[in-house]
């Protein structure tokens, strides 16, 4: 049926390039800050427009409203009956959980942050560019409907910046779902709490009471239009620069009040935050290589002051168009399904609702991706990674210009100054990222050591190199979403036995499935993705399509080769994981042992000189590969006891 799908839909709706939307202009919001007093900014009159249905009483009564809510009372009753505990005790426990979780927004703290962050941001960034039209749209949305802000997550800076921007533009401050990690930083944690963060435990799978407190807290704020809710669909910071597969837990919670008719509509606002340079750049690379993430501590934060001395270029924040949950659900979810059970009794959402939430999550992450501002450096990093032996500067410039045209024709949101010559643009990127790329003798190459330093083992050298490559890859990864579909098609064209469309699609679909954890590929959309890929490659004259066939065009070699090379590290990395699983002799491989073992396996191959691809060392890639193999049922996961999950190799 999918094949028929290609044959018919492909011709019926000529595909419009989804990336080529009109985008808003971006303005530097720090400009004003550089001209006027930060203190006055922090102390100015702050009177944001709020949700039209908000009753002032509700702001102060939030805690009581949550604790006395029918939904929470119901669960408290259940829990107390189940564990034979007195109801008052469970009630107390719920109150305790809520206090641990709840934010305590104080305008004073917000003003303090507004002052400090003004200073910090001015030091760190040359400019922070925001689409002000998006801000205006958001302002309107906040007044009309409960709003959920969904920023991309690349850095700890993200949520500080979000609140800072909203404060600066006089918008209602969001309450932000944050991981418990911050709570270990006593002072900072409390400060964040007072600037609107609320804290949730990383895992609370079986804890019914916790879940009830948490979801009722979020829903109460949403229903009353108390404040915009902000959380990260990706669940955590992406260490790789790619978007992460979205988590749907919180999205489920925030969409439920609509399904149950408790609000007329909810607006989901994707926000794309992109950085010239990410503060956590090399930390991330090390984490991917197995160096544990430093614990969030206040003293650690103080040590991080040295960060302030560096130049992080420009930051971009793009507020997307609000997505109405009502229109998403139109014709998909029957709200009347909730008519027959009191709404405060928890009910599993119907399959249609679950599917809708899952789809919406992917769609929103794609919207985030599409509005990420890409800097010329991402193109340079891409080219440098494909040429590990370095490139002559003129060649690099020439290729970067070529790649720029290709990216633009694929709809990339590329911030490449038109007026400047290519040389200057590439040069600026190299200058900002001098820690990653080195120019010497007219040749550019990645800044990785060639020979071991004094007292450095071969392993340590490989590790250093891997840090360089992975850091660089995190910039290339930012642009992958532009190329991923055509890249999958390029590889499929090479591997398919014939140029018949259906065969090419079969190969495409296989790759698409394998990489469905690695990239944001909406579940069930492989046919659309295939069509989009065909359209894009046809548009840049790399392939020619006929009724039945799809073939490379005469001038298409360079494009297709580039695109294949783009996927190469991933293909290699996945192969290494497969090789490892085939060789692994242990019967009961535990899941938590898998990553170190796979990494070690890859490292040995590198040391032996048989593997050149340092990206194969990335734990992110290894985990994604394993997840794909489990999905493809090449590997099975068996739960033994809750904490240890062995992985059986069954390749």
């Amino acid at each position: 049926s999918t094949r028929r799908g290609i044959a018919t839909t492909g011709r019926l709706n000529p595909k419009v390039n989804p990336g080529l939307k009109k985008r808003d202009e971006l303005e530097d919001m720090l400009e004003e800050r550089r001209r006027s007093s930060d203190a006055r900014h922090a102390l100015r009159c702050y009177a944001p427009a709020v949700y039209k249905g908000l009753a002032p009483r509700e702001v102060s009564a939030l805690r009581g409203a949550v604790l006395q809510s029918d939904a929470l009372q119901h669960v408290i009753g259940q829990v107390s009956a189940e564990c034979g505990e007195r109801r008052e005790l469970v009630q107390e426990e719920a109150a305790h959980l809520l206090d641990e979780m709840a934010h305590r927004l104080r305008l004073g703290t917000v003003r303090f942050f507004a002052y400090v962050l003004s200073k910090v941001f001015k030091t760190l960034f040359r400019s922070v560019r925001v689409n002000e039209e998006g801000v205006q749209r958001l302002q309107q949305a906040i007044q009309d409907h409960p709003v959920v802000l969904l920023p991309s997550h690349r850095s700890y800076m993200d949520f500080l910046m979000m609140s800072y921007i909203l404060y600066t533009y006089d918008l209602a401050l969001p309450v932000i779902a944050a991981g418990m990690d911050f709570m270990s930083m006593k002072v900072v944690g409390e400060m964040l709490r007072m600037s609107g963060a609320f804290f949730i435990r990383r895992s609370f799978g079986g804890d019914k009471l916790y879940w009830a407190v948490f979801s009722e807290y979020v829903k109460t704020m949403l229903r009353t239009g108390y404040a915009p809710i902000e959380f990260f669909l990706e669940g955590t910071r992406s260490r790789t620069g790619k978007s992460l597969t979205p988590k749907t837990g919180l999205l489920n919670i925030v969409m439920e009040p609509f399904f149950k008719g408790e609000v007329f509509d909810i607006h989901l606002v994707p926000v794309s935050i992109s950085y010239d340079r990410i503060l956590e750049e090399s930390l991330y690379a090390r984490e991917l290589l197995g160096v544990p993430k430093p614990k969030e501590t206040t003293s650690g934060l103080l040590k991080a002051r040295q960060i302030l001395r560096e130049d992080y270029g420009v930051m971009h924040v793009y507020f997307g168009h609000p997505v109405s949950v009502r229109s998403l659900a139109q014709g998909r979810v029957k709200r009347s399904q909730y008519n027959l059970v009191p709404r405060h009794i928890p009910q599993r959402p119907c399959l249609a609702a679950q599917a809708l939430v899952g789809e919406a999550a992917f769609r929103l992450v794609r919207l985030q991706e599409q509005a990420m501002v890409l800097r010329p450096w991402t193109l340079v990093a891409t080219l440098l990674l494909q040429n590990p032996d370095g490139m002559d500067l003129p060649v690099l410039e020439e290729q970067a210009a070529w790649l720029r045209r290709l990216a633009l024709s694929f709809g990339a949101f590329l911030d490449w100054p038109d007026c400047k010559p290519c040389r200057e643009v590439v040069g600026a990127g190299l200058a900002l990222h001098k820690n990653l790329a080195r120019v010497s003798g007219g040749r550019v190459r990645l800044a990785v050591a060639e020979t071991p330093g004094v007292g450095q083992t071969a392993e340590e050298l490989a590790f250093d190199r891997a840090v360089g490559v992975l850091s660089c890859a995190s910039y290339r990864n930012q642009i992958l979403h532009v190329f991923i579909r055509p890249a999958l098609l390029s590889v499929a064209l090479r591997t398919a036995n014939s140029s018949r469309k259906d065969e090419v699609y079969t190969c495409f679909n296989f790759l698409w499935t394998v990489f469905s954890n690695e990239f944001i590929l909406c579940p069930g959309a492989s046919v659309q993705d295939f069509e989009e890929a065909c359209y894009l490659l046809g548009k840049c004259c790399a392939v020619q399509e006929s009724q039945q066939d799809i073939v490379m065009s005469e001038g298409g070699h360079a494009t297709l080769a580039f695109l294949r090379a783009l996927l190469d590290p991933f293909l290699q990395g996945y192969q290494v994981v497969c090789q490892y699983l085939c060789k692994e002799t242990e019967e009961n491989l535990r899941e938590n042992k898998f990553v170190p073992a796979a990494r070690n396996f890859a490292l040995q191959l590198i040391l032996a000189g048989t593997l050149k691809c340092y990206e194969a060392l990335s734990s992110d890639l290894q985990k994604n590969a394993l997840a794909a193999l489990v999905q493809l049922e090449a590997v099975t996961k068996v739960k033994v006891i809750p904490t240890q999950k062995p992985v059986h190799a069954r390749l």
């Binding site: 249905g53 009753a55 008719g261 009191p342």
Partner: protein, 631 residues
């Protein structure tokens, strides 16, 4: 001033007492009359006593509008000075000037009195399709002595109810399929004959009572090719007997509400069934649509009031063998009849409960700071089961609308008092004028209990921030329910179309449903190109143990729209979808008709629908009662 009201109050009570006494004195006369009226079955004009004369003649067109609501002499208009005015003499508002109506009207709908959309002045008889008559059927009717007519005006009159699209079409002079013949049975036996003949000649019968349907129930189905006969029950309008021992009354089903109530009042009784349409709607119609009355809290809805029903069907007459107050004899067959919307047969006679007239009536009103508080108060009143005869909660828009209908105040003093009240509520009590809303109350019973009851309700209201706002406001609220239907015709003179619709919903859903439906209406209007935000408002009109009845009013200015009726119908459709999605019912008392048929399966499940269909198949296999409502 205060003493003035006191006096008039005392006078009112005295007059009422006098009526009660007079009623008691009359009762023996009435008892004797019972035999007479049964004999009078055949006569064209059954009674000579003017007090008992029916309010609706056979030629409805003599006193009622052919293309609008109600009596021809009563209508709203803007006079030459641009002031609102209500004509005629029938209502308390009649002949009064409504100084704030124009401003409210123009501000709410963005209209101007310059832009008029007058209706076609007279019915163009030549536009009425010629009747498709089955001659032998007509002949046999004549032999049987049943009055019949194919006069075009009379047929047009019975071709519609009061849905917006029906009235809109008439105003434009558009006439669709109309019945081919009108028959006026005089009694049960006439109906039996008519139904027999209809079966014999395969003629389609459509029962017609008061013509107040708002569900397209009276529209002739377009696909109907047979001769369509409108069976007008208006001449079956006698009270056949009153049984004071059991407090029941046996009435012919064509009687209209106001006649029934007035005649019973004369004997010191009432049924207490007062739907807003009671001036025109008939007893048979109430039974056929499962009607609900304003004072159902004391007297019950129609299903609570009915003791016995006689209905003529193509299979024969259906009725129970006794008048026991409750039975366990399988599913109650009355429930096949009630709500059957004329698809099974004609209700000819009904035995209903009656009550002695209440000794004392008192209106009241309460202002709440917002709608939410008002709903909470009504919920609490229902929880304590202490609802007055009627309690209704209007939202802010309706509250303002009510103000627009305030007649010119006679003295500076009253207007000063009004100003003072407004100041007290908004400034002193801090009520936000754009949020506050008002509940109107009607208490009934003996004086002592009413006062006690009143205190109880006001005490509850106080817990929800409610302030007593006087009897006048309450009384005006109820008075308006009878004239409000006339207002739509005024709107239609100035590019404004609108309608009301209702639902019932569990308590916990009331607020959400009201907000979402109102918002949906606004949204849909905007999306469909309506230039000015619509008037989208609601009120809670009935309370029950487990929920409430909610009424929506919705109207908009259609200037600039190519097909306003289509826009209107889509918006109403979406509003109903929204109601159903929010846990509301398909209808609380208007019925399904043809307007809401598409949702019946969803509303009662496939099996439920099948049950109803199988009843229809048994009772009326040839679809003689072919109005195609409900199923």
């Amino acid at each position: 001033m205060a003493s003035n009201t006191d006096i008039s109050e005392r006078q009112r009570i005295a007059a009422r007492r006098l009526r009660v006494v007079a009623g008691h004195l009359q009762k023996c006369v009435q008892g004797e009359g019972a035999g007479v009226s049964a004999q009078a079955c055949k006569t064209e004009t059954p009674r000579s006593s003017p007090a008992k004369a029916t309010s609706v003649p056979k030629r409805r067109q003599d006193i009622m509008k052919w293309n609008g609501w109600g009596y021809s002499d009563s209508r709203f208009l803007f006079n030459k000075k641009g002031q609102g005015e209500f004509t005629g003499k029938r209502y308390r508002l009649s002949g009064m000037i409504l100084p704030s109506l124009k401003d409210w009207f123009e501000a709410t709908f963005g209209t101007s009195l310059q832009h008029k959309t007058p209706a076609t002045p007279t019915l163009n008889v030549s536009a009425v399709p010629p009747p498709n008559l089955v001659e032998p059927f007509v002949e046999e009717l004549k032999v049987a002595g049943v009055a019949a007519s194919h006069d075009p005006e009379g047929r047009v009159f019975r071709s519609h109810g009061h849905c917006l699209h029906e009235i809109f079409a008439l105003r434009e002079g558009r006439i669709g399929r109309v019945p081919d013949l009108v028959v006026w049975p005089n009694c049960h036996n006439d109906v039996v004959k008519i139904v027999e003949l209809a079966c014999k000649y395969n003629v389609c019968l459509m029962p017609y009572g008061g013509g107040t349907s708002v569900s397209s129930a009276l529209e002739c189905p377009l696909e109907e090719t047979r001769s369509v006969v409108s069976l007008d029950t208006s001449q079956m309008n006698r009270i056949l007997w009153i049984d004071e021992k059991n407090l029941t009354v046996h009435v012919e089903a064509g009687i209209i509400g106001q006649d029934l109530e007035r005649q019973l009042n004369e004997s010191g009784y009432c049924t207490g069934h007062e739907p807003d349409s009671m001036e025109f709607s008939s007893l048979g119609g109430w039974v056929a649509t499962r009607a609900s009355g304003m004072k159902k809290n004391i007297y019950g809805n129609i299903e609570d009031l009915v003791v016995h029903i006689k209905m003529v069907t193509p299979r024969g007459v259906i009725e129970k063998s006794c008048q026991g107050p409750r039975m366990s004899t399988g599913p109650d067959i009355h429930h096949f009849i009630m709500g059957s919307e004329g698809t099974l047969g004609v209700v000819t006679e009904v035995t209903m409960k009656i009550r002695p007239l209440p000794e004392y009536q008192k209106y009241g009103s309460i202002v709440f700071p917002n709608f939410q508080q008002g709903v909470s108060c009504l919920r609490e009143v229902a929880r304590q089961r202490c609802a007055p005869a009627s309690i209704r909660l209007m939202d802010n828009e309706q509250f303002q609308f009510g103000h627009a209908l305030k007649p010119q105040v006679s003295s500076i003093f009253t207007s000063f008092l009004d100003g003072l009240k407004k100041f007290y509520i908004t400034k002193f009590k801090g009520f936000e004028p754009h949020h506050l809303c008002v509940a109107t109350l009607l208490f009934e019973g003996d004086r002592e209990k009413v006062l006690q009851h009143e205190k109880q309700v006001y005490d509850i209201a106080a817990k929800f921030g409610g302030l007593a706002a006087g009897e006048d406001n309450g009384q005006r609220g109820y008075m308006l329910t009878f004239v409000i239907a006339y207002l739509r015709d005024l709107g239609m003179d100035y590019y404004v179309i609108g309608e009301s619709f209702e639902t019932s919903v569990p308590w916990d859903r009331v607020l959400d449903l009201c907000r979402n439906v109102k918002e949906r209406i606004v949204r849909e209007c905007k999306e469909r190109g309506v230039q000015f935000p619509p008037f989208s408002t609601c009120r809670v009109t009935q309370t029950y143990d487990a929920g409430a009845c909610v009424y929506f009013y919705f109207a908009f200015n259609y200037r600039g729209l190519a097909d306003p009726l289509h826009v209107y119908e889509r918006v109403e459709h979406e509003a109903r979808e929204e109601i159903l999605a929010n846990g509301g019912s398909l209808s609380h008392h208007h019925g399904v008709g043809k307007l809401r048929k598409e949702w019946m399966r969803e509303a009662v499940s496939t099996v439920g629908l099948g049950m109803l269909q199988s009843v229809k198949e048994y009772v009326d296999p040839n679809n003689i009662f072919g109005n195609r409502n409900l199923l």
